[in-house]
C-alpha cells in the first residue's frame, strides 16, 4: 500500500533525488485539463443514462399497463386508458422494473471484471468510445424503438438491459485508468476527489434531463441521452489521449519509480517485497493478469469493503425516491429533487483535501451509522429530511466515491507494479465489479426485507450492518496507513530538526 513513496521525503537520499523534479510535478498542461473534462463528462453521461431510467420509471409503469382502479364504470375510451400492453396494473410493471434494475447491476458487475481486463490490453480511448456508442444504441432500442414501434415484450427489455449493463461497464475502468495515467499521486487527493463527483453530477444531470423531456413522452429522455452519448463518444474519439506517453510527455510517476523504493517496502509485509522483486525482473510493459491483480495488496480488502458500501450507496440511488414517495406520499418530483441532495452530499464528501484516503473513510463511515438511525425515524418534514439526506450523502456517498476513484487509482498504480504498469484498468474493474455485485445483491434483498417485516426501518438496520462491515473490512488498511502517516510525520519532524541542526 504505502502511500508515502511519492508523498514526502523518506530518507535524505530521497530528498536529494526528488528536489530537481519538483517543478515538473505540479505543471499541469492543457492535456491534463482536457483529460479531466472529457473523462468527467463521459462518465457523467453514462451515469445520467442510468438516472434517467430510474426517474422515468413511474411513467414507464403507466405506459406499460392499463388503468388500475376498476370502479363501477371502467374509464373509457379503451384506446386511451385500457391497453394491456405488458401488464394489467402499474404495480406489476413496477415489480418488473425492479427486476430490470437487478438484472442491470448483475450484468454490469460481470461486465466490469471483463472490461477491466480489456481496458489494459487495448487502446483505452477505443474501448471507452465503443462502450459509449453501444450503450447509446442499446438505450435507443430499449426506450425509443420499443415505444415507436409498440414492441412491448419482456424478453426485449431484459435482453437490452443486460447488454446495457455490459456496455456501460466499459466506462468506469477506462476513465479511471486514463485519469490515473495523467494525474500522479500528488494531485490525486484533491483532483480525484473533485473528479469522482462525476457520478453524482451525472445523476443530477440525468434527473434534469428526465424532468425536462418527460412531458414529450418517456422515450424522449432516452432519445436525448442516447444522442448525447453518441456526441460525447465522437468528441472523445477525436480528443482523448489515454496516456501522457502518447504525446511524448514523460509520465510523472515512472521517473520516481526508478528511485530505490525497497527501503520503504522493508517496513511493509514480506509478500510485498516479494512482489516488488518479481515485477522488477520483468522489464516488458505487459498487462497484469486478472488473478495477479486480485493478489495485489489491498485489492481484495477494498473490493470487499466497496461491495458492502456500494450496496448501501446504490440502494439510496435506486430506492430513495420510491421510499420517500411511499413513506411520506410526497410527489414524485419532490422526492426526486430531495434525493438529488444525497448526490450533492456525495460530491462534498468525496473531496479529500488532505490526501489521506482510508484514514478519512473510517471515521466518515462511523459517523454515518448514527445518521442512518436518525434517518430511519425522521418525521414528515422536507427541510429536516433534506439536511439529513445531505449528511448521509457526505458520509456514505463521499467515502464510496473516494474508494471508487482515488483509492482504486492508488491500488492500481502502487509501486509494487513498477514494471508492469498496465494494471489500473483491471484493478478498477475488480474493485468496482465486486462493488456492483454487492449493489446487485442489495437490489434483490431490499424488497425482500421490506416484504418480510413490512417496515422500512429494517432496511435501514440492514444498511447500518453493511456500513459496519465496511468499517471492519477497511480497518487493517486503516491501521497500516495510520502507521505510515505517523512515520511520515516523525521522519519529516526529524528531517527538519536535522536541517535546523545542520544550519546551526
Amino acid at each position: 500500500m504505502s502511500t508515502n513513496i511519492n508523498g514526502s521525503p523518506e530518507t535524505a537520499n530521497n530528498v536529494d533525488v526528488r528536489l530537481p523534479q519538483r517543478p515538473s510535478k505540479h505543471r499541469y498542461t492543457l492535456y491534463h485539463l482536457s483529460t479531466f473534462i472529457l473523462t468527467f463528462v463521459s462518465y457523467a453521461m453514462l451515469h445520467a443514462a442510468r438516472k434517467v431510467f430510474s426517474n422515468v420509471k413511474s411513467t414507464i409503469a403507466e405506459e406499460w399497463s392499463a388503468v388500475a382502479n376498476e370502479t363501477l364504470n371502467p374509464i373509457k375510451p379503451d384506446e386511451i386508458w385500457n391497453q394491456t400492453r405488458l401488464f394489467h396494473s402499474p404495480e406489476n410493471a413496477t415489480i418488473f422494473l425492479g427486476v430490470l434494475d437487478a438484472v442491470f447491476m448483475f450484468s454490469y458487475s460481470f461486465g466490469l471484471f471483463v472490461s477491466g481486463i480489456i481496458g489494459d490490453r487495448f487502446d483505452l480511448r477505443i474501448v471507452l468510445c465503443l462502450g459509449m456508442v453501444i450503450t447509446a444504441v442499446v438505450i435507443f432500442l430499449f426506450g425509443v424503438v420499443s415505444e415507436w414501434l409498440h414492441i412491448y415484450s419482456v424478453a426485449w427489455y431484459v435482453c437490452f438491459w443486460i447488454l446495457n449493463g455490459l456496455a456501460q461497464s466499459t466506462g468506469w475502468p477506462c476513465v479511471v485508468a486514463i485519469m490515473g495515467n495523467w494525474f500522479g499521486k500528488e494531485g490525486r487527493g484533491l483532483i480525484f476527489g473533485v473528479w469522482s463527483a462525476c457520478a453524482s453530477v451525472g445523476n443530477i444531470f440525468g434527473a434534469a434531463l428526465a424532468a425536462a423531456f418527460l412531458s414529450y413522452g418517456y422515450e424522449y429522455p432516452f432519445l436525448v441521452c442516447a444522442a448525447l452519448l453518441i456526441c460525447c463518444a465522437t468528441i472523445c474519439f477525436f480528443a482523448i489521449i489515454p496516456s501522457p506517453e502518447d504525446v511524448g510527455a514523460k509520465e510523472v510517476e515512472t521517473s520516481v519509480e526508478e528511485t530505490p523504493t525497497t527501503t520503504v517496502n522493508d517496513q511493509e509485509t514480506s509478500e510485498e517485497t516479494e512482489l516488488v522483486v518479481k515485477t522488477q525482473e520483468s522489464t516488458t510493459n505487459k498487462p497484469i493478469t486478472f488473478f495477479r491483480a486480485w493478489l495485489l495488496p489491498g485489492v481484495a480488502m477494498y473490493s470487499l469493503c466497496y461491495a458492502c458500501l456500494k450496496l448501501v450507496n446504490y440502494s439510496f440511488f435506486f430506492w430513495l425516491p420510491f421510499y420517500l414517495h411511499a413513506k411520506f406520499s410526497w410527489q414524485e418530483s419532490d422526492a426526486d429533487l430531495l434525493s438529488t441532495l444525497y448526490d450533492v452530499g456525495g460530491i462534498i464528501g468525496g473531496i479529500d483535501l488532505a490526501g489521506l484516503r482510508s484514514i478519512v473513510v473510517v471515521p466518515a463511515l462511523l459517523i454515518a451509522i448514527p445518521i442512518l438511525f436518525i434517518f430511519s425515524n425522521l418525521a414528515n418534514n422536507k427541510a429536516i429530511n433534506g439536511v439529513v439526506m445531505t449528511m448521509t450523502g457526505v458520509f456514505i456517498g463521499g467515502p464510496a466515491n473516494m474508494i471508487s476513484a482515488a483509492i482504486t487509482a492508488d491500488l492500481g498504480r502502487q509501486e509494487v507494479l513498477a514494471a508492469s504498469d498496465q494494471a489500473l484498468s483491471t484493478v478498477t474493474g475488480i474493485v468496482d465489479g465486486t462493488g456492483s455485485f454487492g449493489a446487485a445483491i442489495g437490489q434483490v434483498l431490499i424488497p425482500v426485507i421490506e416484504k418480510r417485516w413490512h417496515d422500512w426501518r429494517f432496511v435501514f438496520y440492514f444498511f447500518v450492518l453493511m456500513t459496519f462491515i465496511t468499517c471492519c473490512c477497511i480497518l487493517p488498511l486503516f491501521v497500516r496507513e495510520c502507521k505510515i502517516v505517523i512515520n511520515k510525520i516523525k521522519s519529516r519532524y526529524s528531517a527538519n530538526r536535522q536541517r535546523a541542526y545542520d544550519t546551526l
Binding site: L30, Y31, S34, L38, T59, E62, E63, V67, N69, N73, I75, K76, P77, E79, I80, W81, Q83, F213, S215, Y216, G217, Y218, Y220, L223, V224, A227, L228, C231, T234, I235, F237, F238, A239, I240, I241, D246, V247, G248
Partner: protein
C-alpha cells in the same frame, strides 16, 4: 396507426350502411311516439327508422316487438350523435347491461323502455321519468350531463370528463395533452435538438483534435 384508423372507419362506413339497411327493413314503424316525432321533425320515415331530412343520420328508431333480450349494439351501425328517440317497449325479455347500453347516444332525449328496464342512471341522468300506459313502459326524458354532477369520474391526471350518452362518459385528454393515458404534452423539438447537438459535436471534435490528438505520436 393513422392508416389503421382510416381502414377501420372505412369499414364502419360500409358496414354501417349495410347494417342500417338491414336494421331498417322488414317492419314498418308501429310506435306512435316514433311516427309522430318523425313527422314533427320533418324526418323521412323508412320502415323502423326515421332519417333526418334526406341524410343517413338516424333521428329516431322503433325497436318495439323485436323479441330482444339485450339492447342492440347500434354504435357499429351508424352515427348516433343525432339519435334523439328510441322505443324499446314490447320487448318483455329485454335485460339491462349498464356497460354498453346506449353508449355514444349523446342527444338521446326520449327513451321508451319496457317496464322491467329502469332508466339507466335514473334521476342522475334523466330530468323526468314517467310511466307510459299504451304500450306499457317507462319514458326517460331529457338527458342530463353526467359529468356536471360528478367530479370524481376522471381522476387520472390531464383528463376531463365528456358525456357520451345516458350514464356514459369518456375521459378525454385536456387540450395540449395527448397519447396513451394523456401523458404527453407538446412536441419534442427534433430539428432544433439534433441541429444544436450535431453542430456542437463537430465544432468540439475539430477543436479537440486540433489541440490534442494531432500531437499524438504514432509508433
Amino acid at each position: 396507426m393513422i392508416k389503421l384508423i382510416l381502414i377501420s372507419s372505412f369499414f364502419v362506413f360500409i358496414n354501417g350502411d349495410f347494417e342500417t339497411e338491414s336494421l331498417c327493413v322488414d317492419h314498418n314503424a308501429t310506435s306512435k311516439s316514433i311516427i309522430n316525432y318523425c313527422i314533427s321533425q320533418n324526418g323521412s320515415l323508412k320502415f323502423r327508422c326515421c332519417f333526418l331530412s334526406n341524410s343517413s343520420n338516424i333521428l329516431a328508431i322503433d325497436l318495439t316487438e323485436m323479441k330482444l333480450n339485450k339492447v342492440p349494439d347500434l354504435k357499429e351501425f351508424t352515427d348516433l350523435t343525432n339519435l334523439t328517440m328510441v322505443d324499446l317497449r314490447l320487448n318483455p325479455q329485454l335485460e339491462s347491461s349498464t356497460q354498453d347500453d346506449f353508449f355514444g347516444m349523446l342527444s338521446l332525449d326520449y327513451l321508451y323502455l319496457p317496464e322491467q328496464y329502469p332508466c339507466p342512471g335514473e334521476k342522475h341522468v334523466w330530468q323526468s321519468i314517467n310511466q307510459t300506459i299504451d304500450p306499457k313502459g317507462i319514458l326517460c326524458m331529457y338527458q342530463k350531463d353526467v359529468c356536471i354532477n360528478s367530479t370524481n369520474f376522471c381522476v387520472e391526471p390531464n383528463s376531463y370528463c365528456a358525456t357520451n350518452g345516458p350514464n356514459h362518459f369518456l375521459c378525454l385528454c385536456k387540450t395540449g395533452y395527448y397519447g396513451y393515458k394523456c401523458l404527453r404534452h407538446g412536441q419534442f423539438p427534433m430539428g432544433k435538438f439534433f441541429g444544436i447537438s450535431i453542430t456542437t459535436t463537430i465544432i468540439l471534435s475539430i477543436f479537440f483534435f486540433w489541440t490534442q490528438r494531432r500531437h499524438v505520436k504514432k509508433d
